[in-house]
């Protein structure tokens, strides 16, 4: 009986309900797309933040400060073994560094020994003129900072003679780096070259990692790494992690407030439709009451109707929302935002709630007096 009545009611006022469904579905579409975004934006934006470069530093504990030579070093193999053992898909780049202050053409220059292949991944913002890496055969190649190139009149392809104490090495310039910071006055060589130069095979000054993820995720990874490397300092580079967290929370707040605003608007629209519907159905209600239907039952019937509307609108909207969020992701981040299945029921529940909130004034129907209604006719 209840279900038959419900079905009749839904079919009876098709046009008007279509309007309500339209409003609900459009709301659901936007809300589900925004929810998807809200869940994914952290991952997407933290990836963008990786142009900031390394955000995790492994350094020897109690390193000494000296101007010209690497005083405190740590074992390369120990560090790389630890990084291997603490696997994490969010690690984008790992680069060991060994700094030596060598000299060339009688000018002191900072020589950074590192994994040149990891460098472009570690520092995506650096511009390079020339190449990051030559073919493996040319072992003795280097990258020079812009200032070094300027000062020493070097160009891509020219050769460079580096000296440290009595060691000497001949290098070929593969590329010129423009980064804007200290790197502009450094020479980058493959790690073994720097180790040979300083005669400390297997040793590094520190290691830098670029790890994507949230601030919490990064510190968690740092903690795991620290427990694998008890003898060293593992710490996130704060300049980067702090700014990230702050910006993210603001952007997310923005999205959440948009969701709330749109939901209020939709509730209002449902309210309008339902109020109109209720006015129109006063006679039906009068009749039901005259035939002995209790108020509770009648209101339940209407609410059920509204609930079905909300669910239908939510369902249609959630499906459209998947498309919308895919498009949004493509447009904004150049890659689709992956839809989460949780969004689907969440949107439907939200829509049912909004629809029911919009239909609350229907309780006024309880005040309908059958006699008056019928007399009006």
């Amino acid at each position: 009986m209840f279900w038959r009545l419900l079905w009749k009611l839904l079919r009876g006022s098709g046009g008007r309900l279509a309007v309500a469904i339209l409003a609900l579905a459009s709301c659901a579409m936007v809300v589900s797309a925004l929810l998807n975004l809200e869940f994914d934006i952290e991952r997407k934006l933290t990836q963008e933040f990786r142009t900031l470069g390394a955000n995790l530093l492994i350094s020897p504990r109690n390193a000494q400060i000296t101007g010209s030579s690497p005083a405190e070093v740590m074992s390369e193999s120990e560090v790389s073994a630890a990084i291997q053992s603490v696997k994490d898909p969010n690690v984008i780049a790992v680069a060991p560094f060994l700094y030596v202050v060598g000299s060339t053409q009688n000018t002191p220059v900072v020589v950074a020994g590192t994994d040149l292949e990891e460098l472009p991944k570690l520092e995506p913002a650096w511009r390079i003129e020339g190449q990051w890496k030559l073919s493996p055969a040319q072992q003795t190649m280097c990258l020079v900072g812009r200032k070094v190139a300027q000062q020493l009149k070097l160009a891509v392809g020219s050769s460079l003679n580096l000296t440290y104490l009595k060691q000497n090495v001949q290098l070929k310039v593969a590329g010129i780096i423009d980064g804007g910071g200290a790197e502009d006055s450094q020479v980058f060589v493959e790690l073994p070259e720097a180790q040979d130069l300083a005669s400390i095979p297997g040793q590094i000054s520190f290691a830098q990692l670029s790890v994507s993820g949230t601030t919490a995720g990064i510190s968690h990874y740092a903690a795991r790494l620290a427990s694998a490397l008890p003898a060293y300092d593992v710490k996130p580079i704060r300049q980067i992690t702090e700014a990230e967290g702050d910006l993210l929370s603001r952007i997310r707040l923005l999205i959440v407030s948009m969701i709330v605003l749109i939901s209020v608007l939709t509730a209002l629209c449902v309210l309008g439709t339902m109020a109109a519907l209720a006015m129109e159905r006063r006679q039906d209600v009068g009749l039901m009451k005259a035939l002995g239907g209790s108020i509770g039952r009648i209101v339940t019937l209407f609410m059920a109707e509204v609930g079905v509307l909300g669910a239908a609108g939510g369902f249609i909207g959630a499906i459209l929302g998947v498309e919308l969020s895919r498009w949004m992701g493509q447009r904004v981040f150049g890659q689709a935002i992956s839809s989460r299945w949780e969004i689907f029921p969440l949107t439907i529940i939200l829509m049912v709630a909004i629809a029911l909130a919009g239909a609350l004034p229907l309780r006024l129907l309880g005040k309908v007096k059958p006699a008056i209604i019928f007399r009006e006719q």
Binding site: L34, L152, G180, S185, M258, I262, L265, L268, G272, R331
Partner: protein, 439 residues
């Protein structure tokens, strides 16, 4: 007659109008606030990004190669070129002076420190800089700036040194290495190249500095002593000089245009480039005002900022657009409902000989009045909403923009019209008889 009909409709049945008006008010409030936020967000986020610190680095042009690792320059003091501290006020006179949020000069001096006058010395670096300096600007005003603006992530325990005082703060790693040094203690610093000519000429053997705080920067500065710039200048024998200047400037994300070489632009393009706050044009203006310098973009910061800013503003425009569409649909749906509700009225009018045009005219006039009223109220409400949203999201209220009013008004009219058009077209097909009979 027409006017009276419209007026009657409002007077007779205000409740029905109320609903459409309410939907319009809320819809337009959403539109106003989202548009206000969207217009403002680029600017606000750009300011937020300044928490990444400086994005420009100024160094002397004819310099020797810095021996620089992690932001600290280990060159001896008698080597390389210096810049004059006195010129820095000029930075606030460039075309984009208001976009220059802060700048801090740095002078690094290799020193040895002693915990007491006779204790064994340890080698480290002393970084001279500004904490919070009132810089005189050539136009007569002063501008307050310092490390808190260009290096906002530096954390201090205790307090910062006062500019000009014989105070210093020490890096966290250094504090750990030399546990004897705690805030309140006095350390003695002397130029590492002690005994050379600079040292003999001007500075006393060791300079006492009171430690007032411990700074942690997560970089090379952690192993150094930070002191007022004057101290570093005195120690190095270069009064009024510095070596590096970090500038934090508000910029517009770089695009293909901003990357072009200004020398190859046409005069109009050049003006457009010069008058846009691109990082390249601000760098150019700084270089012009401080001759003999080289101004470099710190790419990590500038690129990240540019990428994210442009992405977030695209994102926000899309979100705004979808919010507008959802608002428009909801409002249109509500006005459609109110028109549908009045089928009986349409029937009577038609039975009395009204043409379809007249009926449509009356309804549309009503909707227009509603749209104007709804848009005005919605605009005010939206402005208030934007203010509070702005202050909760960015900590600063978003100022209302009057330019949005005609936009919102037009939007309201379009939405209210389209919402009633579909039911009106159906109404035009009604024959009066069945409606009046109540079918």
């Amino acid at each position: 007659m027409f006017g009276r009909l419209v007026k009657e409709s409002f007077v007779r049945n205000p409740r029905r109008k109320l609903l459409t008006a309410a939907a319009l008010v809320v819809g337009m409030a959403v539109a106003t606030s989202t548009l206000t936020i969207a217009l403002e967000v680029g600017d606000r986020l750009a300011r937020e990004f300044r928490s990444l610190g400086a994005n420009l680095l100024v160094t002397p042009q004819s310099d020797t190669l810095p021996v620089e690792i992690g932001g600290v320059d280990y060159r001896p003091v008698d080597e390389g070129a210096y810049l004059s501290e006195a010129d820095l006020g000029k930075l606030k006179t460039i075309f984009w002076r208001h976009n220059v949020l802060g700048f801090t000069p740095f002078l690094d001096v290799p020193i040895s420190i002693q915990q007491s006058e006779n204790a064994a010395p340890a080698r480290t670096m002393l970084i001279g800089t500004w904490n919070a300096r009132e810089v005189p600007v050539p136009d007569g005003t002063t501008f307050k700036t310092g490390v808190s603006i260009t290096h906002p992530w530096w954390k201090i325990r205790g307090r910062w040194f006062r500019d000009g005082a014989n105070e210093c703060v020490i890096g966290a790693a250094l504090a750990k290495m030399m546990p004897g040094i705690i805030p309140g203690k006095v350390i003695y610093v002397s130029n590492e190249t002690a005994g050379n000519s600079v040292q003999d000429r001007s500075t006393p053997k060791a300079m006492p500095l009171e430690v007032v705080g411990i700074v942690s920067t997560d970089d090379a500065e952690d192993k150094a002593v930070l002191a007022p710039l004057e101290i570093a200048q005195k120690l190095s024998g270069h009064p009024g000089m510095f070596r590096q200047l970090f500038v934090s400037a508000l910029t517009k994300p770089a695009d293909a245009f901003s990357e072009r070489d200004p020398l190859k632009m046409t005069p109009t393009e050049y003006d457009r480039w010069f008058c846009s706050p691109y990082i390249s044009s601000i760098a150019f203006q700084i270089k012009t005002i401080l001759p003999g310098t080289e101004v470099r973009t710190i790419r990590r910061v500038a690129d990240t900022e540019g990428n994210i800013l442009s992405r977030v503003s695209t994102l926000l425009w899309i979100v705004t657009l979808t919010a507008l569409i959802a608002a428009a649909l909801a409002v249109a749906a509500t006005s459609a409902t109110t028109v549908l509700e009045r089928r009986g009225e349409v029937g009577v009018m038609k039975a009395l000989g009204a043409t379809n045009t007249l009926v449509a005219g009356i309804f549309l006039a009503e909707q227009l009045l509603l749209a104007i009223a709804g848009a005005s109220m919605g605009f005010v409400l939206g402005a208030v909403l934007a203010r509070s949203l702005g202050s909760s999201i960015f900590g600063m209220p978003a100022s209302p923009r009057l330019i949005l009013f005609p936009v919102v008004l037009g939007l309201a009219a379009i939405v209210a019209f389209t919402g009633s058009l579909i039911p009106l077209r159906r109404a035009a097909r009604f024959s009066p008889a069945p409606i009046l009979r109540g079918e």
